[in-house]
Symmetry: C2
Subunit: 347 residues, 2 copies
């Protein structure tokens, strides 16, 4: 076959605030690939199906001189992140043509991989039970698994307790709300728009509020029994207020600090002393570290619950690599409702 287009979304410039489409992330159609003849060197050729667009990606779009726990993206190179792809050709016995894999994939139509991009994020073969592929990047992907692992491993939830969840309508938060309700907790849910407030309520939140309309301090102060578990996706003022409202022996699951990602001044958390006074446990979580503990349990149980409608989820889907920049802006600025996904190909 003749070479065909191999479009990509690449990292074009380092943002100082929000990611601007066509400035910091650009779409490029200039490259081609011959899928029949491209050298595999013992690896495999993957056709990208779906990309998961996640807030943490902002942290990789930085000056490489700034140290952080994640590797920075390389200017001029295709972005990469969680997603699904289908094996087209393979010289690796672990993967056969037709296999659909979840893992870190490049933001381009076709790529050759020799093992995973990083040993921390493996490729996993997905056995679909009749759900759209996108579900495996959202409620069944990295965000859903992050919610599940964090909640199951660190909430120590007991029926009758109160959980507080921020970005409660997001891909992680909306599953946390549902897991908390399934465990018999009262749930207080914070999000940033009327539509998100409604979705968190639909997921079962007992109190669902818009933090732009009402101060998080005021809402939590009304909870007479205090907060036993805080699942934190935003940090900053939410974290401060949760520390103030926490009960003794409370558990804080730190999943994200999205309020601090876009270069605004660092919020001064004034209640860190409460960690001591209330004997709190504050646990940071990362998908790729917890994966090995609970992934098999997750894949064995959650897809069927999602298929049965017992677990709700929402996606905000756009099509084509040309929408990656906008998608990154959306998740950074809270524009999306539901997990932001870019579909690159249907199969």
């Amino acid at each position: 076959m003749a070479p065909i287009r191999n479009a990509r979304a690449y990292y074009a410039a380092t943002p100082t605030g929000y990611i601007e489409p066509d400035v910091h992330v650009k779409y490029d159609e200039s490259k081609t690939i011959d899928v029949d003849t491209v050298e595999l060197n013992g690896g495999f050729l993957l056709k990208t199906l779906v990309l998961s667009i996640d807030p943490y990606m902002r942290g990789r779009m930085r000056d490489p001189k700034i140290k952080s726990y994640s590797a920075p993206f390389d200017l001029g190179q295709a972005l990469y992140g969680y997603g699904l792809g289908k094996v087209i050709r393979s010289e690796d016995d672990s993967y056969k043509p037709g296999d659909v894999l979840h893992g870190w994939v490049f933001h381009e139509e076709y790529s050759v991989y020799k093992g995973p991009l990083t040993p921390f994020v493996p490729f996993r073969k997905i056995e679909n039970i009749g759900l759209p592929w996108s579900a495996y990047t959202s409620v069944l992907g990295m965000p859903g698994q992050t919610a599940y692992y964090g909640w199951k491993l660190y909430s120590k939830a007991k029926a009758g307790e109160t959980a507080f969840v921020s970005t409660a309508a997001g891909a992680v938060g909306s599953l946390v709300v549902q897991l908390a309700k399934r465990d018999g907790l009262r749930v207080v849910a914070s999000s940033g728009s009327a539509e998100k407030v409604a979705f968190a309520k639909e997921c079962g939140a007992d109190v669902s509020f818009n933090y732009k309309d009402e101060k998080v301090w005021d809402v939590l102060a009304r909870e007479e029994k205090g907060i036993d578990v805080y699942f934190d996706n935003v940090g900053g003022e939410h974290l401060d207020a949760a520390l103030a409202s926490a009960n003794r022996m409370g558990r804080f699951i730190e999943c994200g600090m999205a309020s601090q990602y876009n270069g605004e001044e660092t919020y001064t958390v004034k209640n860190l002393g409460m960690i001591i006074g209330k004997v709190l446990t504050v646990q940071g979580i990362l998908y790729n570290v917890l994966y090995y503990q609970l992934a098999d349990e997750f894949y064995a149980t959650m897809p069927q619950l999602v298929k049965d409608g017992a677990i709700k989820y929402r996606e905000d889907i756009s099509n084509g690599l040309e929408t990656v920049g906008q998608a990154l802006f959306d998740v950074g600025s809270g524009k999306n409702v539901g997990k932001r996904v870019v579909v690159v190909a249907d199969d």
Copy 2:
């Protein structure tokens, strides 16, 4: 017998910064007590022997309108805190005359108690094995037990790892340094004077530095293998630097945030995001919560190690309730070397 003097140290005014002797804490000899006839109402009369003067007491000397996890002291009333006393008379079958008890005691020469001052801090009978009573308020008292419980329950220490300890020459820190060395860790110790640096070194610290001479960031940056355990007694900039230097899956034991107690502006901890990125566990600890898990083990093992000289400790002792105010200033301003103790009576 005729009534005798019952001197006390009382809370006279609310400090805004450091505690000033004779201003915020006053000594008063005006009261008397008849130890033979004072009504016990089913309780017991205790003669105060030794008082533990601890940094956390500053937090109770506040406007009662300011909510915090600890109850505020009452203006005009005797202070109270950890200490030892001897039972003189008793109508409570649990306590016999001559018993020496550790628990919360009033800062006065004689007091009648009916059970403990708070259910959270029990009275415990001390079986002395030939140590000065003061040892049971320092290395074997609340600070020593806090160090022991925190380290044993939450350090998850492995030989070859690196521990960082702040206020490393203090009553808590100096025991943590020794426990860490006994577990085979490399220990980096921070304190605030040349004398303290020397004592932390004597306790076994591999690196012992004065944070006033050298920036904590710079010292930690030299630790090529990073920090696996941080035992935090000061919070603020030390905590921020430890977050920056922590290894993945590091354990932070939050015991005190002394740098934030005296009304200076709250330090902005900029590296809270590292809790997530490095999958850290940050655990607050309080003596009275952990006591019930490990106290019997502690009292069964540690006094003998102290008596044998296998565990070093230092005390900074003054005599008489008239020295309480100065002692509180000392611990708040870092003037003491070794555990600050006030001896009220020898027996």
